[in-house]
């Protein structure tokens, strides 16, 4: 089987220094690396590769991304290709995936495409689904485990609040994998030296048979990136009309309200019991008022 792995060239978050006011990043200090989720996707692809199969790695990125594709070749990938064109402006996930899909169609389509589910820079998590859309293939995202079974693939997906889902999809398919499922193997010294000067085939828009019009997706435009604005903190001020000891108590409690309760000191025992049952019913502790 032929497996393709999409790799993204991302800035190493530990080297990013952003100005807290403007959010601008000091680009001179940034180092780039292979997106961690993609790295584990590559390792899983290499483990999955049958004896007569092949693993192709591809990336949309500038010439510096060659280093990362060479790393992938050193680790054991069989072929690599890079997509880039100086006509490309900023890359939205939908454009990246259109390019990836076109690049995959250049040769015989793979049986399975593995992607890291989220990149550490943009992190939109939309690439696997958009790529599947371009290819018109099924997709499973947030995948934590998967097993191949005769033309089908059984995946375990992570859902919100700790829930898990198991599903089965048919091949060919795109999988978006969670980060940290596997560590990329260390390349041996000879293969590391071999790939150092391996040229990586480059495909521009023309090579892919695309024109800038094909990449015109006006549905969403990015206007600006801003740093997160810290939430305004309300300063607690005690009630000025309250007596001093109470104001002190209010300050000491830092505005945390005491538990509001109701003291049942009137009525017959039956009425009081009814009031308790009503209270519990209202809060959802009792289903029926019996």
């Amino acid at each position: 089987m032929h497996i393709a792995v999409c790799l993204k060239y991302v800035p190493d978050p530990s080297t990013i220094e952003a100005d807290p006011l403007t959010g601008s990043i000091d680009t001179g200090r940034v180092l780039y690396m292979m997106n961690p989720a993609d790295e584990s996707a590559l390792e899983l692809a290499l483990r999955l590769r049958p004896p007569n199969g092949a693993v192709t790695v591809l990336s949309v990125g500038p010439v510096e991304a060659d280093r990362l594709l060479q790393e992938a070749l050193a680790a054991g990938a069989d072929a690599a290709l890079r997509v880039w064109d100086d006509a490309l402006g900023s890359l939205k996930p939908i454009i990246t995936t259109a390019l990836l899909a076109a690049a995959l169609r250049m040769k015989e389509l793979p049986g399975l495409v593995l992607c890291g589910g989220h990149s550490v820079d943009r992190g939109s998590g939309t690439v696997p689904a958009l790529l599947a859309e371009h290819l018109d293939w099924p997709v499973a995202t947030d995948v934590t485990q998967f097993v191949l079974q005769s033309g089908r693939i059984r995946v375990q997906r992570r859902l919100a609040r700790g829930a898990r889902a198991e599903s089965e999809i048919t091949l060919p398919a795109v999988l978006g994998l969670e980060t940290g499922l596997a560590h990329l193997r260390q390349a041996s010294l000879p293969s590391l030296m071999r790939v150092k000067h391996t040229p990586i085939p480059l495909y521009g828009l023309e090579d892919l048979g695309l024109s800038p019009q094909d990449l015109h997706f006006p549905a969403m435009t990015l206007h600006e990136i801003m740093p997160p604005r810290p939430r305004a903190q309300a300063m607690f001020t005690p009630d000025a009309s309250a007596p001093v000891p109470e104001r002190i108590a209010q300050i000491m409690s830092a505005g945390a309200a005491g538990k509001a309760g109701k003291v049942l000191d009137s009525g017959t025992p039956e009425q009081q019991a009814d009031a308790i049952i009503e209270f519990l019913h209202q809060r959802g502790f009792l289903e029926h008022r019996t």
Binding site: Q186, A187, S188, L189, P190, L192, M193, R194
Partner: protein
């Protein structure tokens, strides 16, 4: 010699892409040799730390004419300041030169940021034809028939063979130790340098340090800033940041139970230093060992199939007046390269052939300088020079300048009284005067 697969066989293998290793790689690659430069970091310079003033501009200019125009340099040093400190006072010698060679090409020294500079230098070696391999930790030397025949890289199938190995792997050179050329160090031979890079606006730096354009200043400090730990401190100006650091001898750090970063904080709070770093933003923090004992810790520099250069050979001159390492590293790297080229021409890599390294080191004034200043490290790190004399100088100046209605004293009687009040014995004083003279005068 046994043959190995062509891609695993080099003429020269250089371990460590610092100034020594990259200079050696550049020269040997230019000579047409098949050169492998190994670096443990993700890129050359990733793990390298020093002050960092590079005083070897003229040396590098011979290799790459006008190198400063293409290299990532910060500022050229045309002001130097050496200060004796007591807890509240600083007495300084301030030197400024706008003359040729300092403020004009080839300049005397440049502040550099090592990750950028070392990366650039290694790229020059690569452009000259050296094979640069990063993320390659060298663990051991390979031996064949009693000679060093290559190195073992910490990776699968990591054995790699070369006719000459040049160990430029820094102060704690594993290769020199594995080859039996270097002994284990004593804690008093090494110092620990801790350094901060503090971001500051270039306009503020120029105003604050009285600089114009790309001028830079190097401050060095001796005395009470390190308290009773033997060491010193420095502050250098980069283009838009300051490099500020503190150096403490390991044995006295241990003995006095002091933490270097605490000393660094106190140094930054000293009245003479605090206004210089005010408003700066901490950008980086790093630490490194420094081979301060120079001549005394020099390993055996060569053996069959191997040479040692740079910090690995202890070529770091910490002589009080001088604090230089990168220039000697580069010179020794070049001397090793010349030796390797000669050995390749002869086709003989025995210790006898490689012994010519010593001659090249002498020609490049490395061994002569270290021999000349061989007494300096023990003297500079002595307790009296470290604490007592800076204190006396600082107090003396304080008394000379003080106007409080008391009669003015002339300097000699004042000095006499200061010395009498301190704990120095006349014999010690005489011996120290002799030491200063022996270290610096002849």
């Amino acid at each position: 010699m046994t043959t190995h697969p062509a891609n695993q066989q080099f003429d020269v293998i250089i371990a460590g892409a610092g100034p020594a290793g990259s200079a050696a790689a550049l020269l040997t690659a230019r000579a047409g040799l098949k050169v492998l430069l190994l670096e443990r970091g993700e890129y050359p310079g990733a793990k390298n730390v020093s002050g960092a003033v590079f005083y070897g501009s003229a040396i590098l200019n011979e290799l790459i004419p006008g190198w400063w125009e293409q290299a990532p340099v910060e500022r050229h040093i045309c002001r130097r300041n050496i200060a004796f400190m007591s807890p509240a006072t600083a007495v300084a010698l301030d030197f400024r030169c706008a003359g040729p060679g300092y403020a004009t090409a080839p300049y005397n020294g440049f502040t550099v940021l090592r990750p950028k500079f070392d990366r650039w230098l290694a790229a020059q070696a690569e452009a000259a034809g050296a094979f640069v391999l990063t993320s390659a930790v060298v663990d051991d030397v390979l031996r064949e028939k009693g000679r060093i025949a290559g190195v073992r890289v910490r990776r699968e199938q990591g054995d790699i063979y070369g006719k000459v190995v040049i160990a430029c792997d820094g102060v704690n050179s594993f290769l020199a130790k594995k080859a039996g050329l270097q002994r284990e160090f004593h804690p008093h031979e090494l110092s620990l340098g801790v350094k901060e890079v503090i971001g500051l606006d270039p306009a503020v730096i120029e105003d604050r340090f009285h600089l114009t354009g790309n001028d830079g200043i190097a401050f060095e400090y001796l005395g009470a800033i390190t308290e009773d730990v033997h060491g010193g401190a420095f502050l250098y100006t980069n283009r838009d940041s300051l490099s500020l650091g503190l150096i403490g001898q390991i044995s006295s750090l241990v003995e006095r139970r002091k933490r270097p970063y605490e000393l660094l904080e106190r140094f930054k709070a000293h009245p003479a230093v605090a206004p210089l770093v005010r408003g700066g933003k901490l950008r980086e923090y790093s630490a490194h060992l420094i081979p301060e004992s120079g001549w005394a810790m020099k390993p055996k520099l060569y053996t069959d199939g191997m040479l040692v250069a740079g910090d690995a050979a202890g070529f770091c001159l910490a002589a009080g007046l001088y604090l230089e390492g990168m220039n000697y590293a580069m010179q020794s790297g070049l001397a090793a390269a010349e030796t390797a080229i000669l050995a390749c021409q002869k086709g003989n890599f025995s210790a006898r052939t490689l012994a010519v390294y010593q001659k090249h080191l002498k020609q490049r004034h490395v061994s002569t300088d270290f021999r000349a200043y061989r007494h300096a490290p023990s003297f500079v790190n002595g307790p009296r020079l470290q604490n007592l004399y800076p204190e006396i100088v600082a107090q003396g100046m304080e008394q000379i300048f003080r106007v409080d209605g008391a009669p003015k004293r002339k300097i000699l009687p004042l000095a006499y009284r200061m010395v009498r009040q301190s704990s120095i014995k006349p014999g010690q004083l005489l011996r120290d005067v002799y030491q200063v003279a022996r270290t610096y005068l002849w």
